[in-house]
């Protein structure tokens, strides 16, 4: 493939970032936005061309339907050793092509949406600069040819996420949230880095193609080495997964994501719903053939994913802030994807289902990106209208904001898994894969799906129905620039499910026909409908039922509302243990013991100087006395030693 387009896909956002970052403050808002949107638009077009060419041009598909993996270009960037080389390249395979579409689409929508949402904000140009930076980093991440390139862009998305979360830097909460996000993901990245180190130590390569095309070779190259009872490959994969846990907000590293909602809402839509947070899923998918080798690593993925999915769904039921609800829903949905990846591996279930989970996961990633972005942007419109994040300040908004209402509803239906909306198809595949792997996990995930439907509709009803509070100004729909993305994404959410996804994206790059597994599909739809009905019953208009339930299970409510006190736990660990327990004592130790020792050399010298002061008493006879003693000692000691 021609490398011009791929280069431009990365270069344009970077250029936009540099232009807007350096010269932005001299520009008008309009010019900056126009530049940003134009840049992103171009990237969008180029990405679509690239991705669609990849998917549909016959030369990239073999005779047996096998899609090729293309390394469009691969420039040596930093050669550690002869084998270990970081290259910056452009790798095209089904998932990266799909991600190109997802990222550019959502990013473009957000660029457009922000025009209205961020209008008149201070630092408007900066905002667009950061968005461009993020788009660049995210695109670089998905097209990485080697694991270290991925790590590089992994860090860059982290940094741009940091900058965007902290966009309202005057607010303490935003600053704290951005810091938290960065540090938590940084901690996870440490695992990622060590994982890379371990893996590369044994395989002597960073290259994805080399690792994934013949995974058994990876296994051989470790030579069966073990560390603390587990094989080094398990260690490496689990550590790499840790990185994914951080970015994708898996328990216990999820705590940053809800706080990240302090950023502007479009940013939440882009980064914290659609693209960056699925990087972890993408990472595991990228390394999937290697993960398939290691049952224990995938087992960990499944367990973490399943627990996180359930946990996040529980918590989402008891939140007040609509963005938080969406954030927890995101966590839960990403956990779905993780679980799907975990259950896709060999060793369990029927052979025909191998790789189903992989496809399902990617499918869900795709659809989720669309409808979750839609929901976030919708929430943004709501917040824009009522100037509050809490549903308590909302209610009955369906009359005032029809476009928002309908698009939001579509989003909710999609996530709840109601056909024919896109979420149904992808979630169904995931559940099918889960059931195939193990019925227990299938049931568990179905339960989570039910909870999903419940909390989404709880939110929906509380916002758009329930009781109408007194509005100072009648809320109204958002301006056109904000509505267009909503409508577009809603439309996508309606139809995306019918894409024959299995033809494009599968783990072995061979086409795969999706067929709805009726028992799973029907049961999950029924469950979802029941959950929606319950939600409707409880929240369609003001009634004492929610309060009663809350009173009936106060403990549960408290725990859910306080997110099972994870933040407090972290607060305790970081502040009490690390900060007060390690840093402070260390600093004290440094000042008083280490430095004290150094100072004590001086003190001791001074003391010694004081102590020998009487030697110089000023009395001649004492001088002579010391003289004599000195001479005699000199003679005496030498005589004893020598003779």
């Amino acid at each position: 493939m021609e490398s011009t387009l791929p280069i431009l896909i990365l270069a344009i956002p970077l250029a936009m970032f540099l232009i807007l970052g350096i010269a932005g403050c001299k520009m008008s808002h309009k010019l900056a936005a126009a530049l940003g949107i134009a840049g992103m638009g171009t990237t969008l077009v180029l990405s679509y061309i690239t991705a669609l060419t990849y998917f549909f041009a016959p030369e990239f598909t073999g005779a047996d339907g096998l899609r090729e993996q293309l390394t469009v270009f691969n420039w040596e960037w930093l050669a550690f050793t002869k084998n270990l080389v970081i290259s910056l390249g452009f790798f095209l395979d089904p998932i990266s092509a799909m991600m190109l579409i997802v990222i550019t689409t959502i990013s473009f929508m957000v660029h457009l949406y922000s025009l209205g949402y961020m209008e008149g904000e201070r630092g408007f140009q900066r905002y667009y600069a950061f968005l461009s930076l993020f788009s660049f980093s995210m695109l670089g991440l998905v097209v990485a040819t080697n694991i270290f390139q991925m790590y590089i862009f992994w860090e860059l998305v982290g940094a741009s996420s940091y900058l965007l979360i902290g966009f309202y830097y005057r607010l303490h909460s935003a600053v704290a949230a951005s810091k938290k996000a960065f540090i938590v993901t940084r901690f996870a990245d440490l695992g990622f880095l060590i994982g890379i180190l371990v893996l590369s130590y044994y395989t002597q390569t960073f290259d994805f193609v080399k690792m994934t095309s013949d995974p058994s070779w990876v296994l051989e190259s470790t030579g069966g080495a073990t560390f603390m009872g587990a094989s080094v490959l398990t260690w490496a994969l689990v550590l790499i997964f840790t990185g994914g846990m951080g970015k994708s907000a898996m328990m216990p590293l999820h705590i940053w994501l809800p706080d990240a909602m302090e950023g502007p809402t479009p940013v939440s839509a882009l980064i914290h719903a659609a693209t960056m947070v699925v990087a972890g899923v993408f990472l595991v998918a990228r390394m999937f053939p290697v993960y398939m080798l290691e049952g224990s690593a995938t087992m960990i993925i499944v367990v973490v994913g399943a627990l996180t999915a359930f946990y996040a769904a529980m918590v989402a039921c008891a939140q007040i802030d609509i963005k938080r609800i969406l954030a927890f829903s995101t966590i839960s949905q990403i956990a779905f994807m993780m679980v799907a990846l975990g259950v896709a591996s060999a060793g369990h279930g029927e052979v025909s289902h191998h790789g189903l989970g992989y496809m399902a996961s990617m499918f869900h990633l795709f659809t989720h990106a669309m409808f979750k972005a839609l929901l976030f942007l919708g929430a943004g419109a709501l917040i824009h209208a009522v100037h509050s994040n809490n549903y308590t300040a909302m209610g009955g908004l369906r009359k005032y904001m029809p476009i928002t209402h309908w698009t939001f509803l579509i989003g909710c239906l999609a996530i709840a898994g109601i056909p024919p909306f896109s979420g149904f198809f992808s979630k169904d595949e995931i559940l099918a894969a889960c059931y195939a792997w193990s019925p227990y996990i299938g049931v568990w995930m179905s339960m989570v799906a039910a909870l999903t439907a419940f909390y989404m509709f709880r939110m929906y009803y509380l916002i758009f129905w329930w009781n109408e509070p007194h509005y100072h100004h009648a809320p109204h729909d958002a301006p056109v620039s904000m509505s267009i993305p909503l409508i577009f994404l809603a439309a996508v959410s309606c139809v995306a499910g019918f894409i024959p996804f299995g033809h494009f994206v599968t783990w072995n790059r061979m086409p795969y026909d999706i067929h709805i597994e009726l028992p799973v599909a029907i049961s999950s739809v029924v469950i979802a409908l029941v959950a929606i009905a319950i939600a409707r019953h409880m929240y369609i208009k003001e009634n004492p039922l929610p309060a009663k339930m809350k009173a009936a299970l106060p403990r549960l409510w408290d725990w859910c509302h306080h997110r099972f006190y994870w933040d407090e736990l972290y607060q305790f660990i970081t502040h009490r243990i690390i900060f007060n327990g390690i840093c402070r004592p260390l600093a004290w130790f440094d000042r008083h013991i280490i430095d004290g020792t150094m100072d004590s050399f001086a003190t001791v010298t001074n003391k010694a100087s004081d102590a020998i002061r009487p030697l110089q008493s000023g009395q001649v006879q004492m001088y002579v006395w010391y003289y004599l003693i000195g001479a005699l000692l000199l003679a005496g000691v030498t005589a004893v030693c020598v003779l």
Binding site: G618, Q619, Q621, W625
Partner: protein, 103 residues
Amino acid sequence: MEFTAIYYLIPALIMFCAGVYGFITRKNMIAMLISLELMLNAVDINFVVFNRFLFPEAMEGMFFTLFAIAIAAAETALAIAIIINIYRSNKSVDVRTLNEMKF
């Protein structure tokens, strides 16, 4: 009874030690000077005795003694002069008054 070198050397040593003792204990500077003279004379005796008893073929010890006596005289003269100076300013020849500069 034959007088060997040791019979002269031991008194000389005693003289020397007495000089040292006197120098360290006497507070009067003149007395200290006398003690010093004792020490120097002990040295002279040593030289002479060594020369006379052990190496009688040359006169090095004798000559050294002569020069040493001269040097001792010079030293004493100078010391007396300085002590007088000190007496002028301190009105005392007590060595303990020489303690202005210390530490």
